[in-house]
């Protein structure tokens, strides 16, 4: 069995009287593509925020590569190799495409190699045909690919993708799925949140289902696909 690259133990997050996450245990192994699914409001993005450090857990621990990062500030986690593509595009809209990647890469690449590194990342995500416009002029899908390029600049071990296929048409979705598969083949562990079930079944090897902030089900793709209870919560029966 591959070693654990990301682990959550009994993660609980409370806002005033509301529990956004309760006793969440999650294990992601090195080299996996792990899907995190569940109905709207189940707490998936909250879990991502707890992993990246934007939120501090009310209770519980977070481990990256075996190290306890629960008390570590967000920027240190990023430097340790944890990257994220956010649900709402986390790009710098008023800057150009290259400036965006430069900002993401400058902490990890020397001055002399910076331009070449920007070129490499653009090629990696196959957005070299976009030129160098102001990012607010890119389409939603293009901004997401740009953000993935930016998230790769830190040579991450784990990449979190929050709804990578959101707002994309079928061609773009296929492109994104291929991109994710390629990156995973090169050794990157990927955890993603998605609502598009086709996308999930294309890519996910293991799946965790969240419901009302709690783990509802987990297993490999086949098990979850055939899980009648999971289908029910999506249709609102539970």
């Amino acid at each position: 069995m591959e070693k654990k690259i990301l682990e959550l133990k009994k993660i609980t997050k409370q806002f005033g009287g509301i529990k956004a996450a309760t006793d969440v245990d999650l294990v992601v192994r090195e080299g996996e593509i792990h899907g995190l699914i569940g109905p709207n409001g189940a707490g998936k993005t909250t879990i991502f925020k707890l992993i990246t450090g934007l939120y501090s857990p009310t209770y519980g621990r977070v481990y990256l590569g075996g190290k306890d990062i629960t008390r570590l500030p967000a920027h240190k986690r990023a430097q340790m190799g944890l990257s994220i593509k956010m649900q709402i595009p986390g790009v710098y809209e008023d800057l150009t495409l290259r400036e965006n990647i430069r900002i993401a890469a400058q902490l990890y690449t020397g001055k002399k190699e910076l331009e070449a590194e920007i070129d490499r990342l653009i090629k990696l995500v196959k957005i070299d045909d976009l030129g160098n416009p102001k990012v607010r002029n890119l389409s939603h899908g293009q901004q997401q690919w740009l953000e993935i390029a930016m998230s790769l600049a830190s040579h991450p071990k784990v990449l979190l993708l929050d709804e990578p296929a959101a707002g994309m048409g079928p061609e773009e979705t296929t492109f994104t799925a291929e991109l994710v598969k390629d990156l995973n083949k090169q050794g990157l562990t990927i955890v993603f949140i998605e609502h598009d079930m086709d996308f999930v079944s294309l890519l996910a090897q293991n799946v965790t289902v969240l419901h009302y902030g709690k783990i509802f089900a987990e297993g490999d793709m086949e098990e979850i696909k055939n899980n009648k209870e999971v289908q029910k919560i999506y249709l609102g029966a539970v």
Binding site: T52, G53, Q79, I103, Q106
Partner: protein
């Protein structure tokens, strides 16, 4: 090589070079008194640039710059009067700037490592500035002295001595060049930083603070550093101002004095140091003319310009002018 020189030929750069040349030849066609007025304008421009750096570049809303400026001046005044030797004063300047940077760093540490941001930074710096002004205002009694120099309450410190370099006391013309060169250096440093890693990290945290953290930027640390530098620049401006007028008083630390440079930076173009320099010098120059003719309309005009800019020309008057000129006159995108 040709591409690079073409890229440098923007209206902004052309205008700056014109200003630079005007500044160099100014002493040949003004008298010494008028020239010393420009030293005052340049000092206040440096204060404005401190705000361009901390607000325009880093997105930190510091509302008490005049207080840092004034305190820096007080420190210089105390040190230079206490030392009583002209040759020491240049060191007094450096010491004042360093002390103020440390103070700025301490305040910034208190704020940014405590998670205070945005509006609340403005409120804390505002309160800090008012507290400082209030404190200096009540130092009238004899017991209020530092290094034997009486703080003087509302009357402040008078008789602040001139700076000497290499044994020569800087008179009006020499001091003019002194402030001019410092202004150019500060401007150049701020402008150049924009294309460095440091400059881009400021841009990143200005545009999206939390996202930048997720890219690995130690945001609070960067904020403390830039705040400290900005405080140092304000102190530098304060020292130059107090040498020019040979005096500093609590009135110079007031909220109104803090408002003016913020309004100037906002109106000219907060992210653009050239716009700040242009608008600041223009404003102080025209204010001087207005004041000479007995009017205090300058504040009203400034307030009106600010409102118009914030509502209709949010990039700033001169920033927008530069880009329009680039588009239509120089025919660049």
């Amino acid at each position: 090589m040709k591409d690079k020189s073409k890229a440098l030929l923007t209206s902004e750069n052309i205008i700056f070079v014109v200003l630079l040349l005007l500044g160099l030849v100014l002493p040949t066609f003004t008298n010494a008194y008028r020239l010393s007025q420009y030293s005052y304008y340049y000092s206040m421009t440096i204060l404005a640039l401190s705000i361009t750096l901390v607000w325009g570049y880093a997105g930190i809303f510091s509302f008490g710059q005049a207080a840092f400026m004034g305190l820096g001046a007080y420190i210089y005044g105390i040190l230079s009067i206490a030392a009583g030797r002209d040759g020491f004063n240049i060191f007094a300047l450096l010491i004042a700037v360093v002390i103020m940077m440390a103070l700025g760093a301490a305040l910034a540490y208190f704020m940014f490592y405590g998670g205070v941001n945005d509006v609340f930074v403005g409120l804390i710096t505002m309160c800090f500035g008012i507290a400082l002004q209030t404190f200096m205002g009540q130092t009238a009694g004899e017991e209020w002295q530092v290094l034997g120099v009486r703080l003087g309450g509302y009357n402040g410190l008078t008789g602040i001595p001139k700076i000497s370099l290499f044994g020569f006391k800087l008179g009006d013309v020499a001091f003019y060049f002194f402030t001019f060169i410092i202004l150019i250096l500060v401007y150049a440093a701020i402008r150049y930083s924009k294309i460095t890693n440091a400059g881009y990290s400021l841009t990143a945290i200005r545009e999206n603070r939390s996202r930048s953290e997720l890219f690995g930027f130690d945001v609070p640390k960067i904020q403390v550093i830039v705040f400290a530098i900005s405080t140092g620049l304000a102190a530098l401006a304060g020292v130059l101002y107090s040498v020019w007028g040979s005096y500093i008083a609590p009135d110079n630390l007031s909220m109104t004095q803090s408002t003016i440079p913020v309004v100037i930076v906002a109106s000219g173009g907060r992210k653009n140091p050239t716009a700040t320099v242009l608008f600041a010098i223009l404003y102080y120059f025209l204010s001087g003319k207005l004041a000479a003719s007995g009017s205090s309309l300058n504040y009203i005009i400034l307030g009106a310009i600010l409102i118009v800019v914030l509502l209709f020309i949010p990039e700033g008057l001169f920033s927008t002018l530069f880009s329009k000129m680039d588009k239509y006159i120089l025919r660049r995108a």
